[in-house]
């Protein structure tokens, strides 16, 4: 039997977590586990703390509560650059439940929102106030036993942030891969590029070789072709029911080019 403990305070909820408990955000991960009888927990911990639903501007940063849903992201004018990302997650029903914090724990090939947050160099705030960068958080997420309370990002300028999800099924399908690129530019040249891929590994991952190929270059066909070539050294994607690792490796550079050069793709 499963018990449910609901706390009005997120820190109290975090304190109630333990090896026999799981945190319930929107339910898209926890409830699926329960429905299939695959749970390794006997307690569900949840929180109604309004702080988890907050979207706040602080200087040049935007803090997004971990309990904010994909639908709430789409409804926020402050998060307009993330609307295409949130829209690519499931259908309306899933988006009404799925949370920003929960997406950090979505297993391959899910986690498209986390891919965008990785490209945007998000900081992950956990209960107790500690903060770590997205990349190290994702690397250690399987051993994380606290509560993510919010994520903080810098708002990208203009067209500096791009995102695309590649699926076989239109308009919605599970990712063959998702790609997010943050290429802040100054005087016509890319500064420090951040490119993240979803569904190319166990967690969203950065394409560091491709990033290096773009840095301090103008964003044009020549630099993008260099990034495409460099990308081949970035990943060893897994085989799954959607695509083989070989296929993903072969098509990833093409999708990166389409993203970075804003090439039109039939919807």
């Amino acid at each position: 039997m499963i018990s449910v403990e609901t706390f009005t305070n997120a820190d109290q909820a975090a304190g109630a977590l333990g090896p026999d408990a799981i945190y319930h955000g929107g339910g898209t991960i926890v409830m699926r586990t329960l429905n299939y009888g695959e749970q390794n927990f006997s307690r569900i911990v949840r929180s109604t703390d309004s702080a988890l639903k907050r979207i706040a501007i602080a200087g040049d940063r935007i803090e997004i509560g971990a309990g904010v849903t994909m639908s709430e992201v789409i409804a926020s004018r402050d998060l307009d650059f993330l609307h295409p990302v949130a829209r690519s997650v499931g259908g309306p029903t899933v988006r009404n439940a799925a949370t920003v914090g929960g997406n950090l724990f979505a297993e391959h090939p899910y986690g498209d929102f986390a891919t965008a947050l990785l490209a945007l160099d998000a900081k992950v705030r956990t209960s107790g106030g500690s903060e770590q960068d997205m990349e190290s958080f994702l690397a250690g997420r399987n051993s994380f036993n606290g509560l993510v309370t919010s994520l903080s990002i810098v708002r990208p300028q203009g067209q500096d942030f791009r995102y695309r999800k590649v699926t076989r099924i239109k308009p919605k399908g599970v990712s063959i891969m998702s790609i997010a690129a943050w290429t802040p530019q100054s005087a016509g040249r890319v500064g420090e590029a951040r490119i993240a891929f979803g569904a190319m590994g166990a967690t969203p991952l950065r394409a560091k070789e491709a990033e290096r190929a773009l840095s301090d270059k103008s964003l044009d066909r020549s630099s993008v072709e260099a990034a495409m070539a460099a990308l081949r050294g970035d990943f060893q994607p897994p085989d799954d029911a959607l695509a083989s690792g070989w296929y993903r490796s072969e098509v990833a550079p093409v999708h990166l080019r389409r993203l970075l050069l804003d090439e039109e793709v039939a919807r």
Binding site: M1, I2, S3, V4, T6, H24, G27, T28, V30, M31, R32, L34, N35, Y36, Q39, I44, R46, S71, G90, G91, P92, T93, V94, N96, A97, P171, K172
Partner: protein, 168 residues
């Protein structure tokens, strides 16, 4: 383990049931109060046949923790018709042969209702987007999309949301 009480408004009527802690809303609806209209499909958020409206928004009942529905309004396809009068969506589904095996229909209707409740003049793409979380393996979707657009047209023509909406 003791059961927990869950109270919510179901298709306009107050309901109170006892649920196990880990129960999903779909189990409470089907086994707890006997509303068999939302269906159990995949249990993982893929098929959409368990779609219900919670406080007017579409959710998957199989992925909704029952206790999280406390105090909320839950509407299912079982409450769509007004006595013998079909909802315009139901009538349009019949007119367009938008159901074959019928398994997706309960979710399709509620996903479409969520759309038409806020937008009675949707584009074809908006209909596609609204039902994008609902799988149909019989119709090829086109009759369903046509039916939703027809229902929207009839509702704009003055048919009430719970009135018979057959076009002449």
């Amino acid at each position: 383990m003791t059961k927990v009480p869950v109270r919510f408004t179901h298709n306009g009527r107050e309901k109170a049931v006892f649920a196990d802690g880990g129960d999903n809303l779909l189990e409470v609806l089907r086994r707890g109060i006997g509303d068999l209209s939302p269906k159990y499909g995949c249990g993982q958020g893929t098929c959409g046949t368990c779609t219900v409206l919670i406080d007017g928004e579409p959710y998957l009942a199989c992925l909704t923790l029952a206790v999280a529905s406390e105090g909320k309004t839950v509407d299912t396809v079982g409450g769509l018709a007004n006595g013998p009068d079909l909802h315009p969506l139901q009538q349009a589904f019949m007119d367009h042969f938008a159901a074959q095996c019928g398994y997706c229909t309960s979710g399709m209707l509620m996903a479409a209702k969520a759309l038409l409740d806020r937008n009675q003049n949707p584009t074809r793409y908006e209909v596609i987007e609204a039902i994008s979380g609902n799988l149909c393996r019989c119709t090829g979707y086109e009759p369903i999309i046509d039916a939703v657009l027809t229902a929207a047209e009839r509702m704009r023509g003055g048919y009430g949301s719970n009135s018979m909406g057959r076009a002449g």
